[in-house]
Amino acid sequence: PLKANPVDGNYCLTCGSDKSLKLWNPHKGTLLRTYHGHGYEVLDAAGSFDNSQLCSCSADKTVALWDVATGQVVRKFRGHAGKVSCVQFNEEATVIVSGSIDSTVRCWDCRSRRPDPVQVLDEAKDGVSSVKVSDHEILSGSVDGRVRRYDLRAGQLYSDYVGSPITSVCFSKDGQCVLAASLDSTLRLLDKDTGELLGEYTGHRSTTYKLDCVLSEQDTHVGSASEDGKVYFWDLVEVSRGLTKTAEPGEGILRHPQAHPGRGCDPRPPTCSRWRMLSARRSKTTRVRSSLPEMMSRSSVARDSTALACGLWLLTRVWAAAEAA
């Protein structure tokens, strides 16, 4: 899994089955810091708004809160009964929201020393695969095929049935829509208020793995990882016009595309745009592979050539090189 820093995009964060989190400079490809402390594969990570804290979740059923500077675990939240698959900070980094394979979403308080969650959202009937948090909403996608949106301000739970197991959900930046990726190789853009289908994006392959979907910073493009190892982009509105494939990063499966925040997105195809795609890859043969660090370490070598070739497809190309090696 790989996350771009939500604030300025100057950092990127990877985590993997080597039980560690790594903080990188995506521009130079240098490793800034490694965070050790999880007992199993780290499944997701997120950064706080002020870059001072990280949160991560792991297959060891824990959610950890890290101090970026010291690299120490500030808190560890235990309570999930299974692998914790996704984790998010809220806007002010006072609450960590984590979703787990145990079908619960748990909200952990970072302020107090309370060991138990503030609230457990156990409405899901199956594992929670994705969680997003807005200023007053918690969005969760579950394998039971539902996208649930908990509106704290209205005190309402909206449950949208999609049918196929949800792998990833995200809010649009304007706060009007919800994008949901499901295992029927479809992304659906749903209206947040009514639940109506606004758009459907197909063409990629997503049947087995938990692949991420993403909306660009200006809500102009929809991006998704695919099991054929590519990153797919669609124009948000003109679906028919939109399907544009990326340069192939390799044989593996791209899992976590991230729109680079803070940069405008050109209407041009992303290969020559100023998109910075950060994507982690999962090998098809071994489901869990901890090859991220090695690949990243090659980045400095391969950076020049790939960067010359296609501008900003930095990390993707680096991994392609690693695959060839």
Binding site: A81, E92, V95, Q119, D160, Y161, P165, T194, T208
Partner: protein
């Protein structure tokens, strides 16, 4: 006169106490001293007033007053700054009278012998006796010295030792007859450490030739305690500061400084030193200081010091060296090694002597194929049920004994031993039912068993070839089960296992069933059953009971102690269920297919966020007055799938609701649900547990829409069976569904027979068979069947 008369009276009186002294002639009777005349005077003849026993006695106050020398005038303030020197600090003595400071006062000032220095015998009588003796003695006045030269106080231990004959300078212990041979110092080995004082070693060598009588015993040598003063300086071991006298005149100090001089050289060295040191009075010698340029002696400068020359362990002095006090005369007689050995062992018993040579025996020769592993032979109780096993084991171990009379006591089991010993039977659960039975009954059982086995064999053959729908006889099942259960049935009913606790009637039936089974009354098996039941139901229940009996016996005693009762009772009929349910997956599915997202696919619930969560999100609490967290919940009746299988009027929507509820229960019971992510890559099947469940639910609904017709059929065939009454319904409801037992007990071999049974019943009860096939179907699907089990319990 009066006395005379009194004399006569005296004889009649009893006198108490002592009589007053007879009055002298002309003496006046003493008057008692009046209180005012009972006075106390001090040494100077002054009267003293008694102030009270605890407030000073006679010596309080100033001149027998409560005043002071100054009277009542208070001491004026004196500035301590100017008259610091004048300031007197008053001590307790300032407030004391002179009596207090005298010999018997509270603070005597005179110098007296303290207890430490007082003469020991302070006993007055003894003292007096001594004084008398001193006067009488030949030299008078000798005892007077005792007072002057008082011995210091001696500890009780020393005193006791003295009384036992110990003297200062001696060691403690029994007196020893003679001294072993004093080891002559080996000239090759240097002696380090505490060398004897030179004069002493000289003396000992001088005494070498002295004759020592045989019968003289000596006290053991006094042992100096180990000096445990810690070393606090940074000097080397054994370093002593230079004694100026020794350093300057270097005569006697030489030996002490030179620790490393060999013992044998001592005398010559000493002599030589004396000789040399005569010449030079000054100078420091010793190897520690090297050899000076002016020194003549440079013989030993290259002496090598190795660690092996030092003692590395703290140990006792070598036995035989210095066993005697250093004042005792030495005896040099060779001692046999033998004797020393005896000393170590201790006293040798009469009739025994020490072996001259130690005899060790070689280890036994191991057989070539010996493996150094010990395994325990299984001890088989000689019970009936284990007979074959035992026999097989015996054969395998090569020990085949047919004659039971020759059994060793190890082959007997507890009851057999008990019989032989003539003990009474212990009360408590017996190991087997068969133990309870009489010989005749046992034989009868055996016959029955054999017969049933025969029957089975006969049946099995045609059954495979014949029509599968052939009904099995009602008697068949019990036999079959009896075979299965054998003697293990014993504790099934007696224990506190109540598999049908929810239905007390059924539990009662079950218990009586087990009881009858224990007694081997196979004919009775049918009587316990509810006569109002249909034949099929009876057969079903019978099988259920058998299975339950078999199932519960294993976990009876050993396992039950390890488990506690479930925290959440299964018997509770009400379940907390979220008030609003996400319902109608069907409709949603179809809506999704038609891409009609929106109202059809959306569920909207009231949801109460935790107050703290709202606070953290900087959002006002939408329900400030409610204490609910999450979805509002209501208590509802717990349904089981069974209800709907017998209730034809159940609508689809209700079924859906229950399905949802079952799912919910599922969620409650299993926090960790099977997730898609756990599915391995190879498993490419499109089996979705949810969709499976949905399809299942749908098929069920289909079935339920059919029932009315078969039900009437059933009524037609079974005349005495009316439509299910309320009571029946209750029964159905409370009974654990057979799915449970199916799921738990059905083995692959059993499956066939039961299904054939079901099918045989089909003609009579089509409804049930449909249900059954349904359940069988569920069994095939691992996920949904388990969920059903969870839901219906």
């Amino acid at each position: 006169m009066a006395a005379e008369s009194s004399d006569s009276e005296e004889e009649d009186l009893v006198s108490y106490g002592s009589a007053l002294p007879a009055l002298q002639e002309g003496e006046r009777i003493k008057k008692p001293v009046p209180l005012q005349e009972q006075t106390v005077k001090d040494g100077k003849g002054r009267y003293q007033r008694f102030h009270g026993a605890f407030t000073g006695g006679f010596s309080a106050g100033y001149f027998n007053t409560v005043g002071t020398k100054e009277g009542w005038t208070p001491s004026s303030f004196i500035s301590s700054r100017q008259k610091r020197a004048d300031k007197t600090i008053l001590g307790p003595e300032d407030f004391m009278d002179e009596e207090d400071l005298s010999e018997f006062g509270i603070a005597p000032k005179d110098i007296t012998t303290t207890d430490d220095f007082a003469s020991k015998a302070k006993d007055r009588i003894k003292e007096k006796a001594r004084q008398i003796a001193g006067v009488v003695a030949a030299i008078p006045g000798t005892t007077a010295f005792d007072d002057l030269i008082g011995p210091s106080k001696i500890t009780i231990g020393v005193e006791l030792l003295r009384k036992m004959g110990w003297k200062e300078g001696q060691g403690i212990g029994p007196r020893i007859k003679r001294k072993p041979l004093r080891q002559k110092p080996d000239p090759q080995v240097k002696v380090y450490g505490c060398a004897l004082p030179p004069g002493l070693s000289e003396g000992s060598e001088d005494e070498e030739d002295e004759y020592q009588p045989e019968n003289v015993t000596f006290a053991p040598k006094d042992v100096m305690p180990v000096d445990l003063t810690p070393k606090e300086d940074v000097h080397g071991l054994g370093y002593k500061g230079l004694d100026p006298t020794q350093a300057l005149f270097g005569i006697s100090g030489r030996e002490h400084l030179n620790l490393f001089t060999g013992g044998s050289e001592k005398t010559s060295d000493l002599l030589g030193d004396l000789r040399h040191s005569k010449g030079r009075k000054l100078g420091i010698t010793g190897q520690a200081f090297g050899v000076g340029a002016l020194e003549e002696e440079d013989d030993d400068i290259y002496a090598t010091e190795t660690l092996s020359k030092y003692d590395t362990v703290l140990k006792d002095e070598e036995p035989g060296d210095g066993l005697y006090g250093w004042t005792a005369p030495k005896q040099y007689k060779s001692k046999k090694r033998f004797e020393t050995e005896v000393k170590y062992i201790g006293k040798i018993l009469d009739g025994f002597s020490l072996a001259s040579k130690s005899s060790t025996y070689p280890p036994p020769d191991l057989p070539r194929d010996y493996r150094p592993v010990h395994y325990f032979r299984p001890v088989i109780a000689a019970g009936n049920e284990n007979y074959h096993l035992r026999k097989a084991l015996e054969q395998s171990t090569g020990k085949l004994e047919n004659d039971t009379t020759q059994q060793s006591r190890h082959t007997l089991n507890a009851s057999q031993r008990r019989d032989r010993l003539g003990e009474t039977v212990l009360k408590g659960p017996a190991p087997s039912v068969l133990e309870y039975l009489s010989e005749k009954d046992r034989e009868r059982l055996k016959e029955v068993k054999q017969a049933s086995e025969q029957q089975m064999k006969v049946k099995m053959l045609p059954q495979q070839s014949q029509n599968r729908f052939q009904p099995t006889s009602a008697n068949d099942a019990p036999h079959k089960w009896q075979m299965f259960l054998g003697g293990q049935l014993a504790n099934a009913g007696s224990s506190d296992f109540k598999p049908f606790a929810r239905n007390p009637e059924k539990q009662k039936r079950y218990e009586s069933f087990v009881q009858s089974l224990k007694q081997g009354q196979k004919d009775m098996l049918e009587h316990y059953l509810d006569p109002s039941m249909t034949e099929w139901e009876r057969g079903r229940e019978q099988e259920e009971f058998f299975r339950a009996a078999m199932f519960y016996k294993s976990s009876n005693s050993t396992l039950s102690s390890r488990f506690t009762r479930a925290k959440y009772e299964d018997d509770v009929d009400k379940v907390e269920v979220p008030r609003d349910q996400e319902n109608d997956i069907d409709d949603k599915e179809s809506a999704v297919k038609m891409k009609m997202f929106g109202k059809l696919t959306r569920d909207k619930f009231e949801w109460h966020p935790e107050k703290l969560l709202c606070k953290r999100f900087n959002v006002p609490d939408p329900y400030p007055d409610s204490s609910i967290v999450g979805l509002p919940k209501v208590k509802r009746d717990k349904y089981s799938v069974f209800n709907f299988l017998t209730l034809p009027e159940a609508t689809t929507s209700v079924t859906q609701a229950t399905n949802e509820r079952i799912q919910q229960n599922n969620n409650l019971n299993k926090p960790k649900k099977p997730s898609r992510w756990d599915v391995s890559d190879k498993e490419k099947e499109k089996k979705d547990s949810i969709s499976e469940f949905i399809s299942l639910a749908r098929s069920k609904v289909d079935i339920q829409q059919q029932p009315p017709v078969p039900m009437t059929e059933e009524c037609g065939t079974e005349t005495n069976e009316t439509l299910p009454t309320n009571e029946d319904k209750d029964q159905e409801e409370s009974r654990p569904s057979m799915d449970l037992f199916k799921a738990i007990f059905v083995s692959s071999s059993d499956e066939k027979s039961s299904s054939s049974e079901d099918e045989s019943d089909e003609e009579h009860q089509p409804t049930v068979s449909v249900i059954n096939s349904e359940t069988n179907k569920q069994v095939d699907l691992p996920d949904s069947s388990s969920s059903n089990v969870q839901g219906s319990t």
